[in-house]
């Protein structure tokens, strides 16, 4: 379970990017966060991963409070938290399967992995994760030769190799065509259900949220505007999310 409690972030400039933001996402649930540009969506994910340190609030993964941790303890706790973003961010000159296996590096601190080697057991697992995202046939291909949709699925397989409890997705379909976008969203929903993952996904495509989310969270000015099951999402409330602050 992912539990975000009263998360706030104020930048040194004085701007409040997150304001007392709270959300709970259960295992097996795909939660989609909707909001306009600058509403605080990406800041929320960065605070959850502790790439940014929140000025107040707590982030819990099951019974671990991430905001209390630092150094090696934080690194270990982060293993339960995988991220994918708009760009697949693969090492283009490495094979697809090697890219996937690097997701598990955090579990191995030996000299072999420090010298650039990958554990055999993780390479075998990487093949399974690639099968899971439907790209088993491309395992030995160079990552740089993949299409945008394929690369994003490899990024998801790399996230799975991390063996996380929570998967954070920051606009994962923003640079994909509609068909590839639907594929990725279907995959995220399936992973939430079958692997019992918490999937927290930031999106701009409202229709995809209507189609795939278990719950939809609206964010505006860094705060929660609504947090409801998909069936209860009001189109008017969503429309208001994207109106400029001045309006």
């Amino acid at each position: 379970m992912l539990n975000v409690r009263g998360l706030s972030l104020r930048y040194p400039t004085g701007k409040l990017a997150l304001a007392d933001f709270s959300i709970t996402a259960r295992a097996g649930e795909l939660v989609i966060v909707l909001g306009g540009n600058g509403s605080g969506k990406t800041t929320l994910l960065r605070c959850i991963t502790r790439t940014l340190t929140p000025t107040a609030g707590e982030v819990w993964i099951n019974d671990v409070n991430l905001t209390r941790l630092n150094g090696e303890k934080l690194r270990r706790a982060r293993l339960a938290l995988a991220s994918i973003s708009q760009h697949a961010a693969l090492v283009r000159r490495r094979s697809v399967v090697a890219n996937v296996a690097t997701g598990a590096l955090g579990h191995h601190g030996n000299a072999w992995t420090a010298l650039g080697g990958l554990p055999r057991v993780e390479l075998a697992a990487a093949h399974r994760y690639l099968e899971q995202v439907g790209l088993g046939a491309l395992a030995t291909q160079r990552a740089g030769t993949l299409s945008g949709g394929q690369a994003q699925r490899v990024a998801i397989a790399r996230a799975l190799a991390q063996r996380p409890r929570v998967l954070l997705a920051d606009e994962p379909v923003a640079s994909l065509d509609p068909e590839a976008a639907e594929e990725i969203m279907r995959l995220l929903r399936r992973l939430a259900r079958e692997d019992n993952l918490v999937v927290l996904c930031v999106l701009h495509q409202v229709e995809l949220a209507y189609a795939y989310a278990d719950r939809v969270v609206g964010i505006r000015g860094g705060g929660v505007v609504f947090d409801v099951p998909r069936a209860e999402v009001s189109r008017e409330a969503v429309r208001r999310l994207y109106m400029s602050e001045a309006a």
């Binding site: 650039g116 790399r158 991390q162």
Partner: protein, 273 residues
Amino acid sequence: MIGDVASVRGARRVPGGDWGRALGHAARAVLVLVLILIVVQSLIVVRARPQDLVTGIHGMADIIRRATPPDFSKFRTELWPALETIDIAIFGTIAGVILAVPLAVLAAANVTPSRILYYAARSVIGFARAVPDLVWALFFVTAVGLGPFPGGLALAVHSIGMLGRLFAETIEHMDMAPIDALALTGARRVQIFTHGIVPSVLPALLGISLYRLDENIRSSLVLGFVGAGGIGFQLLTAMELFQYREVSLLLIITFVIVLAAERLSAILREKLA
């Protein structure tokens, strides 16, 4: 009235009007004058006497006559110095690469572990580059004696400067998204380096190293002039003994080595691209 309109149009064409235009012309004239002065002072300082080329043509023709045909009977004895020359360059390049990689990582602003190490690495790289390889060779000849070893050391140290800077720039311009993604998986710093940074920049670093090897082969020819071994040393000795036919043979060997190194380096770099 017509004069007024003309002056308004003129003012529109050149900001500041006639004064602006006059200042522009004056600035251009000063610039041309400065350029002429630079050329003239360089001719005076180097004591350029083109007429000497004409009067010296007989001397040059005499050297060419005495240098032909090349003395191919010495070909076998020149093979070892030729190999020495190539190996000085190989040693210098490999040692330079080995030392330049860690320095480049410290000297790349996007991956350096601390600002102090960044400035320290930049200083070492800058110093190694600022001192010419010939001066390094003189230094190492004094330190370890005559022969190919000081030549190799000189090229290694100078290569640290050249390679360190180019490697650091390559790392600074790399796509950081895969590195950030690896960091988020919980990978350790050393794993991020070996699994993210190395595979991303390796082809570029190999290409730069091959180019450096090509440069080092040229440099190692000259290093022999200060006693650092190789074909350069043979060339100097033959010239001092007026053995011009041997000189011409050595020049042919030099030409073949340089051309072969250049082509091989270009082919390999093309394959890496």
